[in-house]
Symmetry: C2
Subunit: 244 residues, 2 copies
């Protein structure tokens, strides 16, 4: 199967969770909006794929994935679809539900990480909601990061097959997402993470383990990996990296 | 199968999407935290089910569902699990992915509806973030409700099997969630909804159609249906029901 991923070309954002799975699973795929408009790519292709009035099952927002005749949106849903196909999900139904459950908790966390810099409206710039962002950030760094990372650490520690991965003893798309969350938080909130990381030793070790998986390492070293920046989900605004 | 649902006993909240499915599908279930503590219910039972250190696959937050030996959390994941078992989901894999994709978009919308009254932190009361809530509400009522309802209306209009339901020609859990969203928005934002509803005729008709399904109608008339209130997701604060 040859996949087409549709996501904003200048950011990691939510699409990165899918890119990591495609790369770790050595899938053949095109990152459509990063290809030239002349070859049918670019942002116009991304928008066309959502706005096309003839679509019976339109995506609400990027990322979305084309797999033959199937068009799938919602990050966690895409990963649920790709997981078994790329050997990045447990084999049994209960294991797959569990992987998806964890991924939906990742989605919740990513939504909160986004709203730290956009607490009022996505239609406004950060600078237009800076006062509210500062206030929200204190709660995010003080309460929410510890709560979510504490939960993921607990899951990792409770994995009876060892603490190498979140589920069983082989990497799944959930581990890739854990890597991305630690990487994103370190970029956006370095002071907070320096303070918090000692509390989450298994998660920090997992980040390292995933980073060194050969397919992941090759991807991270390539120009396919977009650098973190202040248009994405994880943004480094020093004034929001408040640490008590 | 006899199910145990675990959710906060005093609110509809996210649990209501699951309650509606259990009721519409005539499932045998216990709403555990609404039962007496003497009989092993109440909020202590809800908290025990998450905090139990021996759990290998702990929920992050309510709602969660026990189905025999399986413990499942995350609203959309619970519905994905229940859908086929209660005959409230399409039969084919592509249809199920599509139903789940829509449900995840419902989850996104519900998250935004919550954050209207809690734009800064869940750990603060509404009255402690009222100024920010007012500002966020203007964007929610002016931009976000129209965007999400417009999308759901488009999906309904595009359903080639007729516009009676979101998918195919029989009700699924997604239709139940559409009912709940319209009902919740009418409760929380009556002025805004009076202004907007003419733009979403198919969705308004769907709300009515679902409300009259015999199992749903019986549930809504029973004392099992908790009334909307200001502890849930959809809260009526007149000062947030700003309509331009």
């Amino acid at each position: 199967m040859h996949y087409q991923l549709y996501y904003w070309p200048g950011i990691q954002g939510r699409g990165e969770f899918v890119r990591l799975a495609l790369e770790a699973g050595r899938a053949k795929y095109a990152d459509v909006a990063r290809q030239s408009q002349r070859s049918g790519g670019g942002v116009p292709a991304l928008l066309r794929g959502m706005d096309d009035a003839s679509l019976k099952r339109p995506p609400f927002a990027p990322p979305y994935l084309r797999a033959g005749r199937v068009l799938i949106a919602q990050t966690a849903n895409i990963l649920q679809f790709l997981g078994p196909r790329l050997k990045l999900a447990p084999a049994d139904e209960a294991g797959r539900l569990w992987a998806h459950q964890l991924q939906l908790t990742v989605s919740d966390f990513v939504g909160e990480a986004h709203d730290v810099h956009h607490p009022i409206a996505v239609s406004l710039y950060y600078r237009q909601q800076k006062a509210e962002a500062r206030r929200r950030a204190r709660h995010f760094t003080g309460e929410r990061i510890p709560k979510f990372l504490g939960y993921f650490e607990r899951v990792l520690q409770a994995n009876r097959r060892g603490r190498a991965y979140m589920i069983g003893n082989a990497p799944t798309y959930v581990d890739l997402s854990m890597f991305q969350i630690v990487a994103g938080l370190r970029y956006a909130f370095p002071r907070t993470m320096r303070r918090l990381e000692p509390d989450f030793p298994a998660l920090v070790a997992l980040h390292e383990r995933v980073r060194e998986l050969p397919n992941v390492a090759a991807y991270l070293a390539s120009d396919r990996r977009i650098a973190f920046n202040e248009d994405g989900i994880f943004r480094h605004y020093p004034e929001l990296d408040t640490s008590r």
